[in-house]
Structure formats: C-alpha cells, structure tokens
Amino acid sequence: MTPLLKVEGLSKFYGQRIGCSNISFDLYAGEVMGIVGESGSGKSTLLNCLAGHLTPDTGAVRFDTRTDGLRDTVTMSEPERRMLSRTDWAFVHQHPRDGLRMNVSAGGNVGERLMAVGSRHYGQIREAATDWLGRVEINEDRIDDRPTAFSGGMQQRLQIARNLVTGPRLVFMDEPTGGLDVSVQARLLDLLRGLVREMGLSAIIVTHDLAVVRLLADRLMVMKDGHVVETGLTDQVLDDPQHAYSQLLVSSVLQV
C-alpha cells in the first residue's frame, strides 16, 4: 500500500539554528497524526515545510497525487504545488484571521476554493456553501455575514468549512483549538473528529495540547529541539512514555 505522504530526511535550518532535523515518517490514507512538543521544538517549521509554505533545506516530501502517484512536492513546480494546496490539501491556521478573508462574507469564504478550481455557477456555489456551513454548525442565515461578526469559535469552524469544501485528502492543522475556551474547544474537537471519520481524511495536527491529540490522533510524534524523540500509537505514547522528555510532557499536564 502506498502511503499518502512519505517524508524522508527532512531538515530545515535557520542559519546556524536548527528548525527541524532529519525527519522521516509515512502517513497512510485515513490516518491522523499528532505532532506534539513545546514551543520552539520545530513542530510548526515541520508543518510549514510539509505544506509547502517553507522550502526545506534537505529531504523529500512525497505526496500520492491523484494522477501521477508519489511526487516530491519540494521539487514540483510552484503552480502544481499551489494547485495541490487548494484541492487535495487543506491548511487550518491557529488564528482564523490568517486563514479567512475577513472582508468577504462567510459564503464567499467557503466558495473561494470552489471558484479557484473553476466553479462558475453561483447557485451551486451557494448551495455548497450552505451545506458546509450546516456541517460546521453555523446557522444558514449567517451566510452573508462577514467573519468579523463571528465569535472566535465560529470563525474557526468557518475556516474548517472553507478548507474542507473541495474534499481534500490531507489536512494540516496548526493548533486548531488554540485561543478558544474549553467548552468551545470541546465542541470543535467533536466536530473535527466527526468530519475526519466521516470523510476519511488524513490529517497532521500540530499542537501542544495533549488532550487534542488524545481525542483526534491515531499516532503521535514527540518533538524536542528540532528532533523527533519518540513516535508511536497515541495511547501508547501518552500512557507509557519512554523518552525522558515525553515523560516530562505527559506529567506536566494538570489533572483536574
């Protein structure tokens, strides 16, 4: 079976400092992988390299494209990579403001990706937008409101709808629940878990919140100082951490 994403020896340096170093892993279709680690451990650098926002210094990121099978996204041409990032990939930013167009209505935000891949029928775009707003629990009558009129949680749900409307196969999420209060977080996680299962999405979730990965991720990668220190099934890593840093991370969580 071909993996959906095959990462080999990926490194990114910022001058002398290490962003992330020698990372390799396979991600299979339908799998959700969590990347955890403290601030500055290189997890966002890694995610941005995978999603094509940063160019890695060494290594390959092979994605199983629909037409040509595994292709290295680092060396493919920019138009091809940008095409992937608006069809088969999705990127959910921590701050909805980075991922949404704040001066465009909710419907326009959801419809943008459809229009970017060539949809030119207003009625159909509108219908898809309405459908997706419903799926992320945003009331249909808010379709013409701008995201500025939405709460933080709603903005985040809108960002998810905007990303998933083209039926991507791989979703990158950078701290999707950061900055939300706990009850809103819980609802968002519930929603994400439902969507991931229902659509059979693969996802890579970067977070420092262990509860998020416990709920969403099948597999876990623990990073420290740009290196992967431990990988394994989520429950295995969280319940029986082997590396000293993983143990510290797990024991740092406050038990209520």
Binding site: E78, R82, R101, N103, S105, G107, M115, R120, Y122, I143
Partner: protein, 289 residues
C-alpha cells in the same frame, strides 16, 4: 513651442514609455511597470494617460480628450490645452477626426477605426487589489493564472444585491489569459473593448501601462447563472433622442425634475446636427440665442 520638447517629455522618457507600451501590446492585459514621471498636474488628473499620450503623439496627430464622455469638462479642457501648448498638435472634439483620443471613464459611442489610438487614464490598474492587498501576491496570482478570487468579488455582489452590482471597472479576461481592469468605464462599454483601434491604459501613480491590440478578445467575467449584462439607464436621451447610448442623469431642479442625456457630448451634438430631437430637446440651431 521652443520652450518645451515636443509633447513636454524628453525623448529618453518617451522611449522608455514606448518600450513599456510595446511590451504591453505584446502581452495583452499584462501590467507593465514603467518609471512614471512627475507631471505638471496632480495624480488623479490623468498623469498616466498624459504620459502615454505624450509618448504616442506625432506632429501630424489630431488630439481629442474626453472626461466621462464630455469634451468640455475641466480635466478634458486642461489636458487638451496642455498638448496644444507643448506639442502644437491639432485638436478636435469630433471623434471621427481624432487620431489619438485620451479618455477618462468612457469609450466614445462612435466605433473607432484602425487609424486611431485610445488612451485611458487609470486610477487602480490591479483588478485584484481590493481583495488581495499584497502586490507580491497579486503578481503571483497573475503569473499563475489564479483568478478564483475575482469571482469571489462577483459572488459577494450577487449575495448582497441579488445581481452583479459592479457597474464600472468591471473585470475582463483578455485573450483567455490575463484578467484586466478596464479602468472605471461603465460596464455598458465593456463589449466595445473588442475594437479596431489600439487601446493603451496608463496609470501614473501606480506606474503601470497595459494595452489591448486591435481586435483582441475581451470577455467580461460572470457566472453561468448570472451572465454579464451591459446595462444603461432605461431611457432615451432627452436631448437627441438616442436610445442606444450611455446616459448621464442630471437633476435639473429641486422638485424631482431630471433629465437623461448622452454622456458622449460629441455623439449627442452630431445627432442634433443631423436633426434628431429628444423629448426635452430643442431642434439644432434654435438654442443659439
């Protein structure tokens, strides 16, 4: 005449602008950067158009300037005088006699010919600007032909107003490649962009020149279920009776009285000379006194 070089700009500057124009003609709809000069008039008064006119004018040319279709507004009169003074070219108000026409916000009603050049004054050349503030990003979008965002603007129009409410500066796609802002002409004029004359667009403050060679394919963007419509006021000209020209609406008193009139003054007056009279018009020759 001896005080100025022909058409105000020095020869090196005109060469630089001509190079930009040639590049623009070679890549229809592509915005060519050029080193816009300080002109003896404020930005917003047509400094881009004036520089293009200066670069294309030759001593044998007959020059016409229109502003919103009119030959007699401040902007049109001062630019016309500027070139009368600095280039000594013949000027005219008759569309047919002009070889170079500089325009702000209109295309003349009368069809232009292959012997003519139409120069547009452009305030914002970038059609994607109000949706994507980054110039780096919009350039990339142009080079990669990522124009989905342009339809987001039209989508917003329909969701807000029930129809595509953009009435001027209506985005077009040129030869199936570049999306272009046709400058703030009413969308009524969009179908006329496919014409026999050369069209050159100059944006002075934004330092961009773009162009349409004769008979270039220009398609107004739209949705399958909301097709493009060239709209105008549903009225005939009250002065000359024309039913197919773009109209200005004038408020004539404080009791709700209004009058519709061709925005193209040359078109209107030549129709009157031919004997056409509108609903509130006076036959030609009788209004002299």
């Amino acid at each position: 005449m001896t005080e100025y070089n022909f058409a105000y700009l020095d020869e090196q500057t005109k060469r630089m602008i001509r190079r930009a124009i040639l590049k623009g003609l070679a890549i229809p709809g592509y915005q060519v950067p050029f080193a816009s000069r300080e002109m003896p008039m404020p930005y917003g008064w047509g400094t881009g158009g004036v520089q293009v006119s200066a670069a294309v004018l030759i001593p044998d040319d007959t020059f016409k300037v229109i502003d919103q279709g009119a030959d007699d507004t401040t902007n049109a009169v001062s630019i016309r005088r500027f070139f009368e003074k600095t280039a000594g070219v013949a000027v005219t108000e008759a569309t047919r006699q002009a070889t170079v026409i500089q325009t702000r916000h209109r295309i003349p009603e009368e069809a232009l010919t292959e012997n003519q050049i139409l120069v547009y004054q452009v305030p914002i050349p970038e059609p994607l600007r109000f949706l994507e503030p980054s110039e780096v990003e919009t350039r990339k979008m142009h080079s990669l032909e990522e124009y989905g965002l342009m339809h987001v603007k039209l989508y917003e129009d329909i969701s807000k107003h029930g129809a595509i409410a953009t009435a001027y500066a209506y985005p077009v796609k040129v030869e199936g490649r570049y999306v272009m802002d046709p400058s703030p002409i009413p969308k009524f004029d969009n179908p006329k962009l496919e014409m026999a004359a050369i069209q050159i667009f100059g944006a002075g403050r934004e330092q961009r020149i773009y162009a349409l060679p004769p008979y270039t394919q220009v398609v107004s963007l739209d949705f399958d279920d909301y097709p493009f419509e060239a709209s105008k006021a549903d009225h005939a000209c009250d002065v000359c009776g024309a039913e197919d020209s773009y109209l200005d609406e004038l408020i004539v008193d404080d009791k709700g009285g209004r009058l519709f009139m061709c925005s193209d003054t040359d078109f209107c007056s030549s129709r009157r000379r031919e004997g056409h009279v509108g609903a509130q018009g006076i036959p030609y020759g009788e209004d002299a006194a």
